[in-house]
Symmetry: C2
């Protein structure tokens, strides 16, 4: 058991933005909200999945929708609590622990707000080990754990409980409701026992995010290379260096979809790298060759500071480097690739681990 | 207190189809389902709103969606009960009485199934005094009574509870969910006390439907004119006689929308009548002049038998007569017209009571 205090937030939010692989919303807003909540309510108790009692009632607290809209709607801590309490009433059982949906972006820091304002402990784990755009893209889905019942709340006072037969149906109906709610909603879902959390969630990812953040900050202070430092903790590789040349982006069906093209510099001069995204970066091609695909991580960072750049922040002319890194091994099973592999996202490409595609030495050390 | 038995069903379903003004789905299916339920569970107790205890928990049981799809999905009595029980659990209170959303079409007979299979009494009233396509188009809306919480269930086992701030929001979110559920859903909503049911619902409309049905059947047996008999009970007028010349129809956003044109015969020879509909008939124009609009009733019936024809059943060549009749007076208030007047449906036309437009003598006797 440890505590999250204001002192941890900077590194945690920074690392979570790296793991967000372009999606998950502006981590700055989440950090501000978490800071405010910690100042108001005091430190948040964080437990590892191993420390959670078997019979605990663990619930994911999150936001859903297009990150561009989420940023406009925040801060809204009341709605997070409304979603949690609505789910609790529907379950008819007291919720004992809060968890993160994803360790990327906003959804890694907002549960701190929920935990702080309810006084509940936060479990150091998440359901993706990164960020993904849809609910069923969660490791618990592979273990037969339902996302339903799921509560949604908006800033107008509307609440909805979805109780669907499977996680694809939960995603589908929750997505429609989120669009009705103004393209963003506060949600509580995936209620599970402590035993289920231990067996199905990806453990210690808040700690991982904090480690990544600290490595970046440490490298900056040591005048070292923060991008290389981040890649090292991720067990990944810096695969491209260049200048953003084109960005196409549109918000449709509740998602931010688009693509960007980077023109190479230095050793990549004359080449280009194209990254396509749906909230998160999905596939990177260098000179037309696939370099990395989901579920592996593709993160665009500022060339100098190592600060991760979300797909909303991509702008013409930015000097960036692109990190590719292996995902958690649970996603590399057939069941995992069925949920989040490149074919699910519409790419006619077999998944090949990024270590092989990008010619890394050694591969994952996570 | 009275009972609905199989002996009442024929007339009730027939009259409800007249009051359905083209919408509400095929009454034949609803009649079959109600018959089966009455055979299985015995007669249903029917009470007038005056007989309902003040503190009763009254709930509307209904189906929502495009009638064409509803017909394909029926029968599905389990889903009706699932919706009711889901709402009951969310309310945390035992439901004591079942009510009808609308007296038109399927939704006048399906609550008989719910009442029969739960053993709960059915209140002789409805929330529209006719049929309308949207949830907030209900007299309780004018009395500040919320449609939420509202439960939806589908044939796949999915359930949703919508708890929205007002009835427009309930409609909007429930409509999206209904589309996800396959364009049709079983619903339970508008929980209210007996006192609220008495003050806000339109009373004795099941009896009215039965009276209309009996008048039509009686006229047929007496070799009298069943169309005139129906119009008489409605306090309305037969405004057109002719042959269906064109029908345009499309299912969009969960509604059956379209228009039909009737070419006049006999005294209307050389004229035509155009009726536009969205599930229900909304506006009738004769030779370009508005003859009747919502909330007044526009019903197309078979020229000889007086059998009402839903918008799905309209076919080229049918010999029809069109009845226009006054709506319940509650709809003629400004609040009522804001909810269901012609402008709400997008027509740039002021509401004028059908008695004046169609030149009726006397007007409403309902």
């Amino acid at each position: 058991m440890r505590h999250i205090t204001e002192a941890h937030l900077e590194a945690l939010a920074l690392g979570a933005a790296v793991l967000g692989t372009g999606g998950g919303g502006d981590p700055y807003i989440g950090k501000l909200m978490a800071r405010h909540a910690l100042q108001t309510h005091g430190p948040v108790e964080v437990v590892t999945p191993d420390e959670v009692p078997e019979g605990a009632v663990c619930v994911i607290s999150a936001v859903m929708g297009a990150p561009t809209v989420l940023v406009e709607k925040l801060p809204g801590t009341d709605e997070q609590l409304t979603a949690l309490r609505t789910l609790e009433a529907y379950l008819g059982r007291e919720i004992t622990h809060v968890m993160c949906a994803e360790v990327g972006g906003l959804n890694s820091t907002l549960p701190i707000v929920t935990a702080a304002s309810t006084g509940l402990p936060l479990v150091d784990c998440d359901a993706m080990g990164r960020a993904f755009p849809e609910i069923q893209m969660s490791t618990p889905t592979m273990y037969g754990i339902r996302a339903s019942p799921m509560a949604l709340a908006d800033d107008k006072g509307n609440r909805v409980v979805v109780d669907a037969v499977d996680n694809h149906w939960t995603e589908r109906m929750a997505r429609s409701i989120t669009i009705d709610m103004g393209a963003a909603a506060f949600i509580a879902l995936f209620s599970m026992t402590g035993a289920q959390a231990k067996s199905s969630m990806i453990p210690n990812t808040l700690q991982l995010a904090e480690d990544i953040g600290r490595a970046i900050v440490g490298a900056r202070e040591a005048k070292d290379d923060p991008v290389a430092a981040a890649a090292r903790i991720l067990g990944g590789l810096v695969v491209f260096s260049g200048k953003v040349a084109d960005v196409e982006r549109r918000t449709m069906e509740g998602f931010a979809r688009g693509r960007m093209r980077v023109e190479g510099v230095d050793e990549h001069a004359g080449e280009d790298l194209v990254v396509e995204f749906q909230n998160e970066n999905l596939i990177a091609r260098r000179a037309g060759e696939v370099l990395a695909t989901v579920p592996d991580l593709i993160t665009v960072v500022d060339d100098l500071s190592g600060a991760p750049i979300t797909t909303e922040e991509l702008r013409y002319g930015l000097r960036v480097r692109v990190i590719a890194a292996p995902c958690h091994e649970r996603w590399r099973s057939q069941a995992g690739l069925d949920l989040v592999g490149p074919r699910y996202f519409g790419y006619d490409v077999d998944y090949v681990p990024v270590e092989r595609l990008a010619g890394m030495q050694g591969g994952a050390d996570r």
